[in-house]
Every structure is written in C-alpha cells, then in structure tokens.
C-alpha cells in the first residue's frame, strides 16, 4: 500500500497518513445446544473500527486542527479510506463508516523522531462499514 486515501469529516488527510487498519467484525454467538458434538456459532451484532496513523501536524487545517475537535464531539462523522487515491471503482472500493473519534494520541514520539499519532474511530451509525464502488 503506497497511496491510500484518507478522508475524515470531509477533510483529506492522506498526505499526513502512514497507516490504515479497518476492522469489520461480527460478534460470535454460541448457539451450541445439548447433544451437539461440535460448537455452533451464529453471527451476532456487527461492529466497525477504523484506525489511522498520522504524522502529527499542528498547522491550521491539518491533522490536529481536524481531529482534536472531534474527540469532544458526539456527532457521528464520515470516515472514508480507499486502497488508492484514485476514484471509487470495483477495484478501488471506498471503505465508509459513520463513526466518532474515541481515541486520539495527540503527541507521540521520541527524540529525533517524527511524532506519529493514531486516531481510532468506532462505528456510531446504524449501517456499520460499507464498501461503495461508485
């Protein structure tokens, strides 16, 4: 992955991003009944999480200015990531989630290193993670 697209609340932050992790999960529900010889599982509630790594930038309109207001906000915002910065397509689907920022490590690094921070968004919408191709 060399050219992923990252859009948070309508703001493109790809030029500061360096990692993306998408987790689209379903809770496993044990439905094994008496007499069974193997465990049986059903899918329970879905969940979604998008974790993005950034090089921190405190300039206006950049990483901190975009993310910091979201940590105290309860309104869901749209997070979109794509494998590449090209337009949405069947081979470059968007990964979309309405979520809120639950974890924001505003400053992180050691002497002589770039400050690399992470922003963790959890699903707050009713639709979970979707994969539109157009």
């Amino acid at each position: 992955m060399t050219d992923a697209l990252v859009i948070v609340n309508g703001v493109t932050l790809s030029d500061h991003g360096n990692s993306v992790q998408v987790e689209d999960n379903r809770d496993p529900v044990d439905i094994t009944a008496f007499g069974a010889v193997v465990k049986q599982w059903a899918k329970g509630l879905g969940d979604g999480k998008i974790t993005i790594g950034f090089f921190q930038d405190f300039a206006a309109g950049k990483v901190h200015a975009t993310l910091q207001p979201l940590i105290s906000s309860s309104t869901g915002i749209v997070v979109e990531v794509r494998p590449t910065s090209a337009a949405r397509s069947a081979t470059n689907p968007a990964i979309l989630m309405t979520g809120s920022l639950f974890n924001y490590s505003g400053l992180n690094g050691n002497i002589g290193e770039a400050s690399t921070i992470t922003a963790e968004f959890l699903n707050t919408g009713s639709g979970g993670i979707t994969y539109p191709t157009s």
Partner: protein
C-alpha cells in the same frame, strides 16, 4: 452558534411556525429533534478556507447542511467559515 432548521412536523410548525427558524440547540437536542422528524437542517453557505476540504476548492462557497458539532469541528479546524458571519471591522 445556532443552526437554521425547517420545521417538518405539525408539532414543530405549531412551535416555530412554517418558515425556517434559527435555534441554538445542543448536539443532543438537535439529534433528538431531527431523529423524531420535527426539524430538518437547512443548508447554509460556507466559504472553504483550507485546501483539503472535499466539499469545495479553497476560496469557493459551498452550501452544506451540517449538524452543529460537525460544523463546529470544521470551523475550529480552520476548514470553513460561515459566509456573512464575519464581525464588522472597527473603524480607526
């Protein structure tokens, strides 16, 4: 900073009238009113200040309907400003 809402239910029209109304609601109040079908956010014109906001080019004006917290986050982040919302400059 309030938002502009169109009353959409009979209850809201009785409370606020038929025309769009400026209300200073909290994020929770706003979500409740919209979710219950009483109010709808009326699009407002914003000027795009940053060069990485997907809704429009830097310096352009765009019409957007946003919840109060989303708007606040984008204004605080230096991405947009309300058109016509700047305070008048002091003389002298």
């Amino acid at each position: 900073m309030g938002n502009l809402y169109a009353p959409t239910s009979e209850r809201a029209k009785a409370l606020h009238g038929e025309k769009p109304v400026e209300l200073d609601l909290t994020a929770i109040e706003e979500a409740d009113q919209i979710g219950a079908g009483h109010l709808e956010i009326v699009p407002r014109t914003y000027r795009v200040l940053s060069n990485n906001f997907a809704a429009g080019e830097q310096g352009s004006d765009v019409d957007l309907a946003m919840p109060v917290e989303q708007e606040a986050a984008l204004i605080q982040g230096g991405h947009i400003e309300r058109v016509g919302a700047k305070p008048a400059k002091k003389k002298g």
